[in-house]
Symmetry: C2
């Protein structure tokens, strides 16, 4: 072994046969899991530490057969999963991993490339760019947009903020924010927490985030936006970014992007549109009015892993101009120099290493087609609207917001006492989720605890949502106070 | 279809049979690809745009069979990949995806969970924590360390900087960096570009990064560090972070972490250790001296995807105390509230959505064992040392740095003219890489173009590296100027 030219023991990795058997076993497990998923409790009834306590606390010294590891996975780990592919998963933004994305992830792992530079895997960079362009075409954005894939909308929005930060011209890359003017970020009080987190991470601080009030339909009030920017500019602050949302997290509301864009441009601010969830809805011509004005944005985030069925992680950041991204972040040390200096996606973002995520988006488009993707989304919206209609017709429940896309906010009502009603709704949700057939989440609207149902899994049918409503109605009756 | 309670068309996703056939086909492809990889050119000879031009520029309206998509993948995309699993891949930090990690990625995609909260997939959070703890045990770090998995070391180091930024007590989360003291980051001129990028992204700016000079073995000079910090403090700046590297990117050099840690502590700065590459080497008892002092770090990054064989992405960030991370970044809007507020990994880092990455590290440990992982790493080091010995014995080549871990820096020498030698070495590398049998990269040391060979793939044997040296010697002879 320490003979310099000696023969090394043949492959320390699995043999072909071992890999073949493992993939066969994992595939078989996958099919059985997905076939039986509807019978599993969607939300496991475990406490923190339960799963870990069933597993060995020390790593093994010697390797074990995959079959044994898979058996332990099935026995100890899977019962502790929350099943995002379960048709009864109606929480957060419900999402799923469609079959083609599962197969694509296998291929991504099989080739195991790192597209940090174009040349460290040309096809991975190019398929990513192509898949992003397919998405652009599918959602009817103009050709000027290009982009790339990040892990999550949080990262996409954060990266857009770094470009916006540079765009205002204070040379933040070189100087940092210290000693410079205060850079401000404007977004509505209904925008996602990742926007505020981006401001913290980028060094602007929470103080630099103005959460603009919303109207009765939870849309950013443009008069309040204009006023906030004007006030801040008078104090010497610079408006760096306005982040509008198409499809807010709580209610799916849609900010008036056209007007917001005008205001942003008037004040020299970057317009970012967070369409992480609803952006996939732009596949449907009948939803086009929701997206009016987004084609003027400097950057847009759409997460195919939210509503199109790619596996997490697949967040697409689109932009009109890559220059502010590159001038913010590009750094090429000698050991990363290449003969294609302008083709490297590492220049646009913090992470250097890049998985071949473009492949799963490309495979999904190929295997499902635009029409197939649109059909699923249309279905989700119809199911959500039917659920909203049933809730609206039931005097025990009120809709808490206009139904937007596939998200429904509602409350059990009629107690007359706000706090008692909040507790009642909380109890209803706990009861329904504990039953394990469906999983819903909650939010807060106008200070009130609000139930929330979101349809986004390809296997979710009307009957699953109707089952959720049955459970909600039962729980509301059973748990009514007094 | 628009009947509210109507029967939805059965599954818009693939049927079980379709998924089963697709996984079978993808598995078969995987085995053939990996069996035949050594015969492929490791680096494709293509130009930017070539791959994309062979693919449809518009997304399909209707879905296509997976077999057709797989055939196109094989025909048009794979020839444009750089094959990171190729035994002749000796560039950058060579790495590979071991069999168990391929199988694990299939399972990760199959369950498709998002561990943003503990409750959105308890087992995913717990297996991640457990796998990180197994790694901690394997590299002999004390129990006080815990941590989590990010995509890349860039993200891990950036996140550590956010904690360090908060740690100095200026309430950056709230105030941002504007109007506050300048926060400084110290690292050696040999540290990875991601450290500087972190400082840009976090809003410190390049101006706040002091690149400390190195000694003749490319290790940070602690006298220069002490002096730089003292100077900056006299100017009113705050030392926020000192980043030491165990295994620098160019040469694998090891900073004197013990002494650096003392200096950092004396000045109230956070000590971060970048052991992204070499950290896996701590599995070998004989390498322990390289890691002296890292057990005093506030945070450490180790990338199992670099030298242990998990697929990208698997970067482990370890820390002594999670509080500065949480107090920097945790934000819990109403829609993410849960009954386990202290168990959520979303609180530590920018990305909200989290893939089930812990599974691949856990599966790798289970299937290979600590002893198996150590054996691979030991092999890589022996192969690298043998290559260095052969280069050292050849008057045509000089080693350009002490050999550290599995990385060898060298140059063809003897022309007497520095610029001509740089061109010659560049030409040698181009020639060798164009042949397609091996792939090496380069760096710059003391202003000189330097060839670089790194061994890190489980299938790389002595003979592959000897073949690289044959090619280098041939090219050096053929291309000698004049």
């Amino acid at each position: 072994m320490s003979d310099a030219k000696g023969i090394q023991p043949r492959s320390l990795d699995w043999s072909s046969d071992q890999l073949s058997q493992a993939l066969h076993a994992a595939s078989k497990w996958t099919i059985e899991y997905r076939d039986g998923i509807a019978e599993l409790p969607v939300l496991p009834q475990v406490q923190p530490g339960d799963i870990r306590s069933h597993l060995a606390q020390k790593p093994p010294s010697e390797g074990e057969p995959f079959e044994k590891v898979l058996a332990d996975f099935d026995k100890y780990i899977v019962p502790g999963l929350t099943h995002w592919n379960h048709p009864g998963f109606l929480a957060y933004f419900s999402s799923c991993t469609r079959g083609p994305s599962v197969a694509a992830e296998l291929l991504i792992a099989a080739v195991g490339v790192n597209a940090m530079l174009w040349r460290t895997s040309p096809a991975a960079t190019e398929v990513e760019l192509l898949a992003v362009d397919w998405l652009r075409q599918a959602v009817n954005l103009p050709e000027v947009y290009s982009g790339l894939i990040f892990d999550t909308a949080s990262t996409s929005t954060f990266t857009a903020l770094l470009a916006a930060r540079e765009h205002v011209g204070a040379d933040i890359r070189e100087n940092g924010l210290t000693d410079g003017p205060r850079l401000m970020l404007y977004t509505s009080e209904q925008s996602h927490s990742s926007v505020e987190k981006a401001a913290i991470a980028a060094g602007l601080g929470r103080k630099s985030v103005r959460k603009i009030k919303v109207d009765e339909r939870f849309r950013m009030r443009t008069d309040a936006l204009e006023q906030a920017i004007t006030e801040d500019r008078q104090k010497g602050a610079l408006p760096a970014m306005v982040c509008a949302t198409v499809g807010t997290t709580s209610t799916g509301s849609v900010d008036p992007v056209n007007k917001i864009g005008e205001i942003a441009r008037d004040h020299g601010a970057w317009l970012h549109v967070d369409a992480a969830y609803a952006g996939s809805g732009a596949l449907l011509p009948e939803l086009a009015s929701n997206f009016a004005g987004w084609e003027s944005a400097d950057s847009i985030v759409i997460n195919p892993h939210k509503w199109m069925g790619t596996s997490l992680d697949c967040s697409v950041l689109l932009y009109r101009n890559s220059t502010p991204f590159r001038s913010s972040l590009a750094l090429t040390p000698a050991y990363l120099e290449s003969e294609q200096p302008n083709s490297n996606l590492m220049d646009i973002g913090v992470p250097l290493g890049r998985r071949f995520r473009g492949l799963k988006l490309w495979v999904l488009f190929r295997c499902v087609g635009i029409a197939g993707l649109a059909e699923s989304i249309r279905n989700h919206i119809e199911i959500a609207e039917a659920a909203a209609a049933r809730l609206d017709a039931n005097p025990r429940f009120n809709l808490a917001a206009p139904v937007s896309f596939s998200t429904v906010c509602f409350r059990a009502v009629g107690l007359g006492d706000v706090e008692a009603e909040d507790r009642w709704n909380r109890d209803i949700l706990s009861r329904v989720n504990a039953e394990g057939r469906v999983f819903l989440s909650h939010t807060e609207l106008e200070g009130r605890y609000t139930l929330r149902l979101s349809v986004g899994s390809v296997d979710t049918e009307s009957r699953h949502v109707m089952e959720a409503l049955d459970a909600l109605e039962r729980a509301a009756n059973d748990l009514i106070p007094g």
